[in-house]
């Protein structure tokens, strides 16, 4: 695999950007990615979803009076939630410079806030949009903004954090998961931090303090004494010596290494601090320096990277994104719905035997032009089919798959071309297997040659090497 391909996969979801990286160089590619435009309008599917605080109050009242309507509304919101997943998957697939969406997803898994708990689609959308806007912004600023989002104060129960009846959840995760990491604060800091956060609850557009629930006593926070509120608390956190490392380690893990070396974490982390937690210079430094190293195959693909690459390679247009969302869920990467506040662990935990088997199965299905699910065969004479199921998108519908490959090439050239796009490394035994599938007397000019190259592709994407970038 050549470097531009590897980095197209690392900085996006497919080999789609490899040519651009090769043409304009990585540095320019990053600049373009940083300045890439993004969609800031509220998507149509949220049109009828409640948004303002007043609307919520009204709905809550209506729920009380009319339980049937409540069920109906809740069903609709679940549909809307599914739409939101496909809305995002679409952005990841279509973006000219997908790094922003990849970074948004990184933050999404750092400042976790799930629909299941928050239950308000619009807040989840707002939360996601903050991450998108600030994807390449400033770590400190982003932390302030996200902790003061309606989604976050609800997700981490700060709506229940009131003077005299403190709830430490947000205070704890702010230190343990969002910034410093375990070992860099005391239990006392968490207890005191909860005082500073008391009264920070839901507001019109973002979280706000409510005077009556605030706790205005002085407290000690990470060695400083005062009556701190959220912004000042975060300022103090960002003065701590170990602040840059947790996030730097996570960035290295998200993009390059499942197990980054600690000296690397400190090297880039110290630079991050020097740059006042500006994300662009950090990413630029990491990506340009790591690009020059021989580090292919250091990370197991997450389910998104796996699925979107396959679909891109097979040139599947308009895939059923609801099925992609479901596949991600089966693979343990349910969007907007991490199992807990720690988020997806990533690394080795992406791959269990079950998950690996499912990956191989969908590789077979896609190469056969099938959708991502193995629905039961539908017999033509089966009268069980209702009118309703006819109008919905049939999961058994045949997909058009088309692999790009050099029709002028001989077997070795075609093998090399595919290897370069798909596998970070191969050995002699692999090569022998490939040449068993495309033999030396393979004729690329015959009509059936597409099938044969597709079989080679299918075989390659089931090798362990394909799981790594």
């Amino acid at each position: 695999m050549n470097n531009p391909t590897l980095w197209s996969l690392r900085l996006g979801y497919s080999a789609k950007q490899a040519q651009t990286i090769e043409k304009i160089g990585l540095k320019k590619f990053l600049d373009e990615s940083f300045s890439s435009k993004f969609d800031s309008k509220v998507p149509d599917f949220l049109k009828d979803s409640p948004k303002t605080f007043a609307e919520f109050k009204e709905i809550r009242k209506m729920y009380k009076d009319n339980p049937d309507q409540k069920k109906e509304m809740q069903k609709e919101e679940i549909q809307t939630f599914l739409e939101m997943k496909t809305w995002w998957i679409d952005k990841m697939r279509e973006a000219e410079f997908p790094l922003r969406e990849k970074m948004t997803c990184f933050w999404h898994n750092h400042y976790v806030s799930t629909f299941q708990k928050v239950k308000v689609n619009y807040w989840i959308f707002q939360h996601n949009q903050i991450l998108r806007e600030n994807a390449f912004g400033n770590y400190k600023t982003l932390t302030k903004k996200i902790v003061q989002s309606n989604a976050m104060v609800r997700y981490l129960d700060n709506v229940d954090n009131k003077k005299g009846k403190l709830n430490e959840n947000l205070s704890r995760e702010l230190l343990e998961l969002f910034t410093l990491g375990i070992g860099n604060y005391t239990e006392e800091d968490i207890k005191n931090g909860a005082k500073g956060l008391a009264g920070l609850g839901l507001g019109e557009d973002n979280a706000i303090y409510r005077k009556i629930f605030e706790d205005n006593d002085n407290f000690v926070y990470l060695g400083k004494k005062g009556n701190f509120k959220i912004d000042e608390m975060i300022d103090i956190i960002f003065e701590q010596p170990n602040i840059p490392y947790l996030i730097t380690r996570k960035i290295l893990k998200w993009f390059i290494y499942d197990n980054p070396r600690e000296e690397l974490v400190h090297y880039y982390g110290d630079y991050f601090k020097k740059m006042n937690f500006e994300i662009k210079p950090l990413l630029t430094k990491i990506f340009t320096e790591e690009y020059a190293k021989n580090n292919a195959g250091s990370k197991i693909k997450n389910p998104l990277e796996y699925a979107l690459q396959l679909m891109n390679e097979l040139n599947i247009e308009n895939p059923n994104e609801k099925l992609i969302a479901r596949f991600l869920k089966d693979q343990g990467m349910d969007l907007f719905n991490q199992p807990n506040v720690k988020g997806w662990d990533g690394g080795n935990s992406w791959l269990t035997s079950q998950v690996f088997l499912q990956r191989n199965n969908i590789a077979d299905l896609l190469c056969n032009g099938k959708n991502l699910t193995r629905a039961k065969k539908i017999n033509n004479d089966n009268s069980m089919m209702s009118d309703d199921s006819m109008t919905r998108q049939n999961p058994n519908q045949q997909l058009k798959v088309k692999l790009d490959w050099n029709k002028e090439g001989d077997n070795k050239e075609i093998i090399a071309e595919l290897k370069n796009r798909l596998l970070f490394q191969t050995d002699n035994a692999d090569q022998q297997d490939f040449e068993k599938i495309l033999k030396y007397d393979f004729d690329s000019k015959t009509e059936g040659s597409d099938n044969a190259v597709l079989r080679l592709f299918n075989f390659m994407v089931k090798t362990p090497e394909f799981q790594l970038i």
């Binding site: 250091s298 791959l351 690996f356 199965n361 033999k439 004729d443 362990p464």
Partner: protein, 389 residues
Amino acid sequence: MDRRKFLTLTGTFTGGSLLLPDFLYSFGSQKNLIVGEQCIVFVQLNGGNDGLNTFIPFEDALYYDVRPKISLSKTEVLNSAKGMAFHPALKGFASMQQSGDLSVIQNVGYPNPVRSHFRSQEIWQTAPTHQEYLSDGWLGRYLDLQCKEHQPTAGINIDSIDNLALKGEEPNSITVKDPDRFKTKSKAENDGQLSDNPQLDFVRKVANSVVEGSDDIQKALAKSAPSDVIYPKTGLAKNLEWISKLIKGNLNSKVYYTSLGGFDTHDNQLAIHKNKLTELNDAVFSFYEDLKKSQQLQNVTIVVFSEFGRRVKDNGRGTDHGTAAPMFVIGGNNRGKIIGNNPNLSDLDNGDLKHEIDFRSVYASILKNKLAFDSSKIGIQNKALEGLF
């Protein structure tokens, strides 16, 4: 223990017909009965096996004329019948034929033969009507219709790559790369090849620990009685020994597929071919004896074939790609005959043998007689070959 064995054993232990009603006894010993556990084992010889030096027309003077350097002398070949003889390495084959368990089908091929390994294997594996390009294999199509639901172990392929013959709409077959790793689960987990990349090692371990249907395979292996035949230490023998365990453990797969490479003998043919045929003979004969001793031979049909034969005239010390060649069918209560005429060395097509029996009619016969399946359902139009079963 399967039902047939149960009946035979009861018969023996009780002194035969005394306690057992006649009709049951005859059921147990009846020879031509198709029962549920029939399966087919394919051994594909990759590279194009030289049919003329495998099953040899040693009484035809032309044979010695066209192959001055690589013919096998009358004194060394193993006489079969009708003026044909086996390659000296195929002692087991000769012996199986003497026991009536091996049929030879002569001059098998197809019209407009293709001499590309790649395409000819594709043709054998997909069995198209007019050499159209099909994306599914003939056995895959059969399994699609045969399996009501997805059944991962209906077909078992032992190879490092997937087999086109078994590819269907549904994944009803699995590819097992190395039977050794089924020895014990815990061993497999420690067997990950160590590279200098811990992430790659991790994925390899996961990949090695999962084969869909591996629970069924484990169960069959555990149930299988140990074999008292000692197999040679070759790759093919290992694969066949493993297949025999699965059969004896009642895995109930319909189709097993494995292959042996190295038959592309353009040069130094005598030595290479002898080695390869020795490996084939010893492995298949051990498998045969094992099945016979465990009374499974009537249920298992072994089919040995190659994508094409080789040029009639030698090219010096070897042979180039050719066309028709013999196919061998062993076990499964076949009639043990030599089917078809001897190769006609004087009526050639561009220096190659003309085929007389279409491989698809052999497939049709196997499907019809062994698996009770109408081959036209998977688009094989050829009439089933007569006289094989």
